[in-house]
């Protein structure tokens, strides 16, 4: 039998699953393996389609659990047999218990910051393009030289973007990080996305976190903030073998 796995915890009970419909429409149930319980549902088929209803069904189940406790969520599309699940839990038990302790009583809050990378690059390269850069360009003639100059500009542009993105990431963490006790911050994961940050925040400190975030928004009207949460701790549920 194939099972779809949603999340696990050492605090899960049946009442925390409610009447929520899971992926494929089947309601979730608990499988208990010693002190760890796993929320699963029966699944027909060999793979899970990345479709709106499936994505939301996965998240609906995990979010319902999150109302009561903080579980470790499985990645979307995790299909497993009972034997496979048992093997995983046996092999990972110590690390799972440690991770559960780490996230207990907390939620993940997400912040993404977007900028106009082209404007930043133009601003950054202004000096380069106006003074000594132009002199060098006039000295360098021919297609080969032009190619090298263009390449240098691209490299400088990328470096400047990274540098500025790092400054913004540090500033963000300095501003809101105090309300969080763990974080996972990616700097410039794509050219438009300056920062993709996940903060682990204790439930009782959510108000404080939101206030700090609002202050950050006000302080930097030049940046676009996409914030969301509370989430199950997806960014803090990575168990390395």
């Amino acid at each position: 039998m194939t099972l779809y796995a949603y999340c696990l915890s050492d605090e899960l009970s049946d009442s925390m699953l409610g009447d929520v419909a899971g992926v494929g429409g089947t309601g979730p149930r608990l499988l208990r393996y010693g002190d760890i319980s796993v929320a699963v549902s029966e699944f027909e088929g060999e793979r899970v389609e990345v479709a709106r209803e499936n994505v939301f069904a996965h998240e609906r189940v995990v979010q319902y659990v999150l109302r009561h406790i903080t579980p470790l969520p499985f990645r979307f599309g995790t299909l497993v047999t009972t034997a496979g699940l048992e093997e995983f839990l046996e092999a990972s038990r110590a690390r799972l218990i440690k991770s559960l302790e780490h996230v207990r009583g907390s939620v993940e809050m997400s912040v993404k910051i977007i900028w106009d990378a082209e404007s930043i690059r133009r601003l950054g390269l202004g000096a380069e393009g106006s003074a000594s850069g132009k002199q060098n360009e006039t000295k360098l003639q021919g297609k080969g030289a032009a190619y090298l100059v263009a390449k240098r500009k691209r490299i400088l542009g990328k470096e400047q973007l990274k540098e500025r993105a790092k400054e913004i990431a540090d500033w963000l963490t300095g501003t809101v990080g105090g309300a969080a006790f763990d974080r996972n911050v990616e700097v410039l994961p794509s050219e438009s996305l300056v920062v993709r940050a996940a903060y682990l925040v204790r439930r009782e400190l959510l108000g404080d976190y939101r206030q700090k975030l609002e202050a950050a928004r006000v302080a930097r009207p030049d940046l676009r903030f996409l914030t969301s949460g509370p989430w199950p701790p997806y960014s803090f549920s990575i168990i390395n073998p």
Partner: protein, 74 residues
């Protein structure tokens, strides 16, 4: 503070994107047990390029699967 409409997309789209961004490439993994299929995903991401990482993740998985199927067939 900008509204989601000012950022260029609808609220339910943003909600789906944020959810995808979390559930597709993070969370507990049981080795070899992620079995997803990507269909019509472009429809969801029309007009958006800021949260492209999730799509890339989905496509990587799909491409890997295609390669696997092809190598199995030959």
């Amino acid at each position: 503070m900008r509204t989601v409409e000012e950022l260029g997309f609808q609220e339910d789209e943003l909600s789906l994107l944020e959810t995808l961004d979390h559930v597709l490439d993070r969370g507990l993994v049981i080795a070899g047990e992620i079995t997803i299929a990507v269909a019509d995903i472009d429809l969801i991401f029309v007009g958006l390029n800021v949260l492209i990482t999730s799509v890339e993740t989905a496509r990587e998985v799909l491409d890997e699967r295609k390669k696997q199927v092809l190598s199995d067939e030959f």
